[in-house]
Symmetry: C5
């Protein structure tokens, strides 16, 4: 999973049925300083967290889990492989005291 | 998922049975300015959206979801891992006012 | 999925049981001009298309689909994640007239 | 799977339900000398190994397995694709005597 | 799948239960000349092929298949996504006579 900032949205009327009514966000991966890493933006599905422009979010990028998460029993699986799983409040990270690590 | 422009098609007569009758498109990833990023083209399966040359599409690149999406109950799974999920009408993206993001 | 040319084969007698009797091909990704891209070769399983040296093939690189495709009911899954799905006859690709794309 | 050092943690109150109560660690991939490789950090879920800052851990990065591992029967799948699978005590690696390899 | 040489092993006593008793190998991807490509090493699970230092092995890197392969019915899935599938005896690869490829 990675941290990303929401920077926009995608509009598509002609799409596979399971995507109907889902929000598609443009997300830009950020480093631990909150600044964009310059990587190409991904398009992520927001399953109902209502993330908006400027929010830092936690993005999971894969298939089976996302599909299962979004599936409605009996309906076809959701064809998305990038999803927003959390809106991030903050994070900590820094040099570690290796001598304090376990032997 | 990523944005890509359809630039061509692949022809193959000798293929695995579940691919019979499926269109295989050459897609070139584009940036938020709509211009090609210079990445190597992927070959994507169009499950019936009828995307054509020049269209910008939303591409999902993974396995389990695509397979499920395209499967016919009782038939072998579709051996494709790149699929077109939407024809894109437009998108928005830009610098965000970080002071407006949630605390 | 990507286009690749078959350039060789791998021999292994000591392998997991489900790979017994399967051909393992060395494949080299090519661009739309048919020339090698210089990427590191992958080893791909040929599920019976009988692709040979010099053939351009369509390669799918992932897990769940390939496994399902090759599985024999009741037997353990096939431990391969790169597979040849088609022998390619040809392809088209070129600059597109963006003014002709959908609004 | 890869070796990484735990360097921090992520805090998120607004998240998908299955992530509730799970620890989210910032992990930085390291080489065989134990030093950071300079790659962008990933965010990994700790399923109960209680790894802490300074620990070197074994990280698996994919979807279906992690989901299954963390799932509670009857509950929705866990939307995480990067997980800590072990706290590492040590490792060995070095040049190999190729003449000693099997013929 | 890719070719790699076994260069070492990882030791971890504090790990998820399904990894107990499994060997974790350090593998270094090699090119068709058998020399290391300089890529960062992966950690791969050996499901019983007994590969040792100096051996060239065929490595599959993904999730669902590996999990299924290693699972014991009724037990939790194995949290590994890189696995050794064969010990390689040899391989062939070289320039191909394109005029000999199928039309």
């Amino acid at each position: 999973m990675y941290l990303a900032r929401v920077t926009g949205a995608v509009v598509a009327t002609q799409k596979l049925a399971p995507l109907t009514g889902r929000r598609l966000l443009v997300v830009s991966r950020v480093g631990l300083d909150g600044e964009p890493l310059g990587a190409t933006e991904d398009v992520a599905l927001d399953p109902g967290l209502d993330a908006g422009p400027g929010d830092v979010v936690l993005v999971a990028k894969e298939g089976a889990v996302v599909a299962s998460l979004l599936d409605v029993p009996g309906a076809p699986p959701t064809p998305a492989n990038v999803v927003v799983t959390a809106v991030v409040d903050g994070w900590s990270s820094g040099p570690v005291d290796k001598s304090a690590s376990r032997p």
